[in-house]
Amino acid sequence: MTTQAEALSAPQAAAGSGQGLLSWVMTVDHKRIGIMYLITATAFFVAGGILALLMRTQLAQPNATVLSNAAYNEIFTMHGTTMIFLAIMPLGAGFGNYFVPLMIGARDMAFPKLNALSYWLYLFGGLFLFSSFVFGGAPDAGWFAYAPLTEKLYSINHGMDYWGLSVLMLGTATTIGSINFVVTTIQMRAPGMSFTRMPMFVWMTFVTSVIAIFALPSLTTATLLLLLDRLVGTHFYNVSAGGSALLWQHLFWFFGHPEVYIMILPAMGLISEVIPVFSRKPLFGFMTVVYSGIAIGILGFTVWAHHMFATGMAIGALLFFSANSFIIGVPTGVKIFSWLATMWGGKLSFKTPLLFAIGFVALFTIGGLDGVHMAVLPVDWQITDTYYVVSHIHYVLFGGAIFGLFSAMFYWFPKMSGRQLSETLGKWQFWLMFAGMNLTFFPMHMLGLLGMPRRIYTYADGLGWGIWNLIETVGAYLVALGILFFLINFFRTMASPPTNEADPWDAFTLEWKASSPPAPYNFAEIPSVRSRRPLWDEKYPDKADWKQGE
């Protein structure tokens, strides 16, 4: 393990540790950048949520005229792109930026200036994307922008140019961020912290960063070729002049499927931190859960065409993708069972972080089982591109990633701000979101089975779809109410005086050793570590982990 000396001189007075706005703009402190990531991503999450509400209002009734078809297409494209690129990934990056250095006992990320660059690139990319609403029309070809439709001929306005340029910016920001995480995790761990002793969230952020490093270039290639097609007039996807319509789908989904693991693995890491603390037990089968993360990462690159089962590819290849998609279900199952085994025999205290973590486990199981349904090739021919897929996406991304991220928000809020979010408001938010989420996304299974395609701005009456869409719209407003409770909770707590409690949850990992909020240099002297749960070893020397010789 390289010691800290070479990486960072004595406690570096972090540039911009003052309070003024300029200090925030000029900061390279990983904690401030983490906070800026979290605030910006939450703002984009709320924006994406409002877009979702508009869509649900339009779909509440058959043949509704709340939104025109053009407006609806812009809104569902922006909803997808915002939630994926501007909300879930940056929330994971925000928590990673703030807590990976703290949890591995480092003073900052390996490249602090690069860290600031990736945040500002992300912010500018997001604003640039949203500015498309005002100048020249928002992108309207779906978040995965299939090729011939996004050609200049069929998407005349500049929407897709905005999409392409901002996706390039966001992709570069994520790649730079991932490189920063990989180098920090390899180089700057505390003395004694070998790879087997790193906390699970650090492990999952590491695996996510490696996946991002290998997956994002495929998106960069696809988007560069699309922009060349639209702006220079080349013919990569223009079929009449020799291009190929399927080329975009292959390039995009080779990035697309690892992308969904980039979104879910940090959340899995987060709840692997929360569940042990609130069950008062170590994570069950730690290294097997790590290995299942790595296996998911690798297999993620070999399953991409299960998004393309209906494109009429060779049947042998489709069956191969179907088989690989099944295999990828096994490590996911191992993770779910490990969380259950962690809670088994523990002493569960139902604080809001644990409620969200349990919500994750319960809902992600449904999402995972949906995934298995769609891996079955003949069944997928019936349910792909219908609302069944929309239900699967939202069970794993909303029920999974967002619940995991809210669990971390409540868990680490005391560490970041020195103030604890109110438990009652937190519980209200959880139950509203849980009930709302099920009311919104569960009927989508029925709609998918009833043959309702996705991305349609309206539908005919008398097909039995109206009742379910109405229920979903009610559910959507319930979820919005839950998010409102969170915002109230956030502002009320920030207004109250800080209690600056270093370890409110009596937790195990290194970040609770620092003060709340931690000093710019995190630790006076770098702590040394003898097991996965350094604080547990200190609190219970006789029952210390390293004595167990596990």
Binding site: G192, S194, F195, T196, R197, F214, H250, M287, Y291, I294, A295, I298, L299, F301, T302, M313, A314, G316, A317, F320, A323, N324, S528, R530, S531, W546, G549
Partner: protein
């Protein structure tokens, strides 16, 4: 499903004398080495049964590859049979032979021929081994080169020899028992190495499977035998794809848990040392 099945069952075993002699020579050499010949080498220890079975399994795999009906079908019409043959060589014979070779044999040879050992060490560097294995793999898939190997036996034998050599070099950093003279890579490097090995094969297999036309004109002849050459080519692509993914996941699991075991042993030792130091201080 698999178009070439009927023809595969129809072709018979081919008893190629040169192949048989070669395999026999290799097996007897190994048996002699394991038996009386061991004393000729310094620091030699009895070879474990695991290593023996591994080595002989490797030879058996080569035997199946070169003499079973696969070989005759591969020579005539079936790209998929030829692919199976090469997969047996690259993913069965080569790794099993590397597993079967005892470390003291290599240490002693290295002691006697330091120049060869230095060259061997350079070749089995992870970066170099990765390059050699994958460049050989991709080179022999280039239509011009592959057609040449189909038309002339000399080139075909050269192809098989380069596959065996590239296979041994490619698997050396992961499976070699040797620690000093021509060492295997450290466990963490093996992890990265195996993860990266998936991708070149994956790219090649994707292009082979999804190609809308027959890449190797030699196999157009398969149509006359009532086999759809495109379907056969697709089956070959899938075979390569599946092996490429699974063949690396199995050793990856072993390497991961071995790495964890090493780390945990080192950590436990360090923790105990720190504890005793604390107690004595």
């Amino acid at each position: 499903m698999y178009p070439g099945l009927s023809l595969l069952l129809a072709s018979e075993w081919t008893w190629e004398p040169s192949v048989l002699i070669g395999l026999l020579a290799v097996t007897t050499a190994y048996v002699l080495l394991a038996g009386p010949g061991r004393k000729a080498f310094r620091g030699s220890a009895p070879i474990s049964t695991g290593q023996k079975t591994a080595f002989h399994l490797g030879t058996l795999a080569l035997f199946i590859a070169l003499t079973s009906p696969i070989d005759e079908a591969a020579e005539t019409y079936l790209l998929s049979a030829h692919m199976a043959q090469h997969i047996l060589i690259l993913f069965a014979t080569a790794p099993l032979w590397v597993l079967g070779v005892p470390d003291w044999l290599i240490e002693d040879v290295a002691r006697r021929l330091p120049a060869v050992a230095r060259f061997g060490r350079k070749l089995t560097q992870p970066m170099a081994a990765f390059g050699i294995f994958n460049v050989t793999l991709i080179a022999w898939h280039i239509p011009a080169l592959y057609q040449a190997s189909l038309h002339s036996d000399g080139v075909h034998i050269l192809q098989h020899l380069t596959f065996i050599a590239a296979g041994v070099i490619g698997w050396w950093p992961v499976l070699a028992a040797v620690q000093d003279s021509v060492p295997r890579a450290p466990r963490s490097v093996q992890l990265i190495y195996l993860i990266l090995m998936v991708f070149p094969g994956l790219g090649l297999a994707v292009l082979l499977t999804l190609s809308p036309r027959v890449l190797y004109p030699f196999y157009q002849a398969a149509a006359s035998a009532g086999i759809d050459p495109l379907g056969d080519q697709e089956a070959a692509g899938i075979l390569m794809w599946f092996t490429g993914t699974v063949a690396y996941l199995v050793p990856l699991t072993h390497v991961f848990y071995a790495w964890v075991h090493d780390l945990e042993r080192a950590d436990a030792a360090a923790a105990r040392a720190a504890a005793t130091a604390e107690r004595s201080a």
